[in-house]
Symmetry: C2
Subunit: 351 residues, 2 copies
DNA sequence: CTGAAAGCGCTTACAG
DNA sequence: CTGAAAGCGCTTACAG
């Protein structure tokens, strides 16, 4: 059985309240230094650990923040966990990581002082009374976004997605395919919309490949499997515009399996800007999200909400920006790019 | 203010205990179906959420498992989180993710029902009384490993590391360098030891590159920076034996920057077997850890320990195995490998 | 079928 | 400088 303050009090023959004061130390001069020392020593020696549940019950604070993610099969989510873990560093908060599915099954009944929800859905009703902030993409309709029901960090891919598509078109690619989870294919979705508009403006034919994603698995594996089938049946596009980087990586796998080289035969452009992109060959062009800023903003909003629940719900928008690397370039651009970025590689001698 | 059972009881004019019974449902026929229904409806309508702290205090169970990791800057740790997240699926447990540094600062005072600690250190004294399992590498001395002070999943790289080194030597590489965090360089460390023994047996000169790692950063970035300096000063080895895959990926970056092609000019072999390895070019040879098995074993040990604290501490060993992909092959092996693994790529036409 | 009581371990205001 | 009391919200045995 764990040691309690009571145990320490009995052993020392003092009241159990005194022990509490001595251990927490916030009692200006109420306790003689000697008594305090004796109590602390005994606590140490008995291996006393405060019961967090009891403390949370009486203070109303657990010092836990729940981080609710759609799944863990996408690298991007790992980077989010890492960001929030960093943000806890100089705070007393711990991170409880949970999937959206479980969170909903639980009806939002969490032990934490607040919740950060990443996802495209809307805030669960249960959360409205508790501190929470959503990080999400725009909803199906613009009007739905106006309906703020809590603090929100809105992810905006719109401009960057247009730029990405214009870049692809400027490279001379004609058959450009949009690939991604089916959930990223609805009219108001910024990437989907940018794709549709630019393709139409350029007079090009659209081609959508919705990837069936099961939430337990890894996106890149599911994408790989699906694209292999798709390519077999429909041949290869000039370029692939992927709604996230894991999809793009799945596409790399599939294309490599067919012996198609990237980007000369098929160009690929991703979205999210996971750091793994720069370790791929070729390096992955992508729409980068300012992840550090996004997470820091959400964190600060949540902490403010926990401290004082007065202010009206806020919404902050964070925009992605296009980062062009190798995977989306035509042959000429690629040569130029290499001349600038990798002068040393030019001197490489093939055996 | 959150709604309590008391609020429901008052609104309905029943005792507050009755509400508790009605809501938890484990009172065989003690409550009339009608009353129960009314209570449940009111709870719903008031937005009642059980107070987890109160529940934990009285039951002595928080249904939280603390997962303690050295840091989050290594991809391998993300895969570990993912494994444990999967393991929680059909259980009532949530995962609290915490770094070792914080865990120690806290003196191990965690809210959870049990703790899983990944790392090479020893079990903190404070944990000995509470359910915990360590996943770790062998310690500095074999005798220290005998001293079981808790349930342990021991990671064994020994045989696989010998095989890896023999493979590298068989490929004809002479100057083989051992690179990795300084923490992976002590005499009894299986990889370090295997390296030393095989190099000595082959009459080759040893070369160690300890990478200075700060725990907040990402291993691959720190490795990259350090290896660029190292290569500038000492030139290039024939092969790099890295004590983890993130180090290997950092090496990829550095080598690429010098225009060195892998594996023809410098071969690379990693350790851990993160899934990202197969998306690299060339695909990464590595010592794969059976991560799913490791985590499942730790999870089951911990759950058993939480349910019944009787059995003596157990230790299970999980062994890594060598997976040879492209990055560690000499030119001839690589050609053979490609002929077998990627027949379609042979027909690829370079523009 | 229902109610009143005890207690989990802690913190915090209050009285000496 | 120290002690006794109240109460956080819940669960669980027990008495009607």
């Amino acid at each position: 059985m764990p040691v309690t303050q009571e145990d320490i009090a009995q052993k020392l023959g003092v009241s159990r309240v005194l022990v509490g004061y001595a251990l927490n130390g916030n009692s200006r001069g109420r306790i003689s230094p000697d008594t305090r020392r004796r109590i602390q020593e005994t606590a140490q020696q008995l291996g006393y650990q405060p019961n967090q549940a009891a403390r949370a019950l009486v203070t109303g604070r657990s010092y836990q923040i729940t981080l609710c993610l759609p799944a863990l099969g996408n690298s991007f989510y790992s980077e989010i966990i890492r960001q929030f873990e960093n943000l806890t560093h100089d705070t007393p908060y711990d991170l409880v990581v949970i999937t959206t599915a479980r969170f909903q099954k639980r009806g939002g009944a969490m032990a934490g002082d607040g919740t950060i929800i990443y996802g495209s859905g809307s805030m669960p009703v249960e959360m409205k009374s508790r501190p929470a902030v959503m990080i999400r993409h725009p909803k199906a309709t613009p009007s739905a976004d106006e309906d703020l029901n809590g603090d929100t960090v809105l992810l905006d891919f719109g401009d960057a997605a247009e730029q990405a598509m214009e870049h692809l078109i400027a490279q001379g690619f004609k058959r450009i395919t949009y690939a991604g989870p089916a959930s990223s294919m609805f009219p108001h979705e910024p990437r989907y919309r940018a794709y549709g508009r630019t393709m139409e403006a350029a007079g090009l034919e659209q081609e959508h490949v919705p990837i069936p994603i099961s939430i337990e698995g890894r996106i890149r594996e599911q994408t790989h499997a699906h694209l292999v089938q798709h390519f077999s049946a429909h041949g290869f596009p000039d370029a692939l515009f992927c709604s996230n980087d894991d999809t793009a990586i799945g596409a790399y796998r599939a294309l490599r399996e067919f012996g198609k080289s990237i980007p000369d035969e098929v160009a690929v452009l991703g979205c999210d800007g996971i750091s793994e992109g720069q370790d791929l060959t070729p390096t992955l062009s992508s729409i980068h999200l300012p992840l550090e800023e996004i997470c820091r903003t959400a964190w600060q909003m949540l902490l403010a909400r926990i401290e004082l629940n007065e202010t009206p719900p806020q919404s902050v928008t964070c925009s992605g920006h296009l980062v062009i690397r190798e995977s989306s370039l035509n042959q000429r651009s690629l040569d130029q790019h290499n001349a600038v970025v990798k002068p040393r590689q030019q001197t490489k001698t093939k055996p």
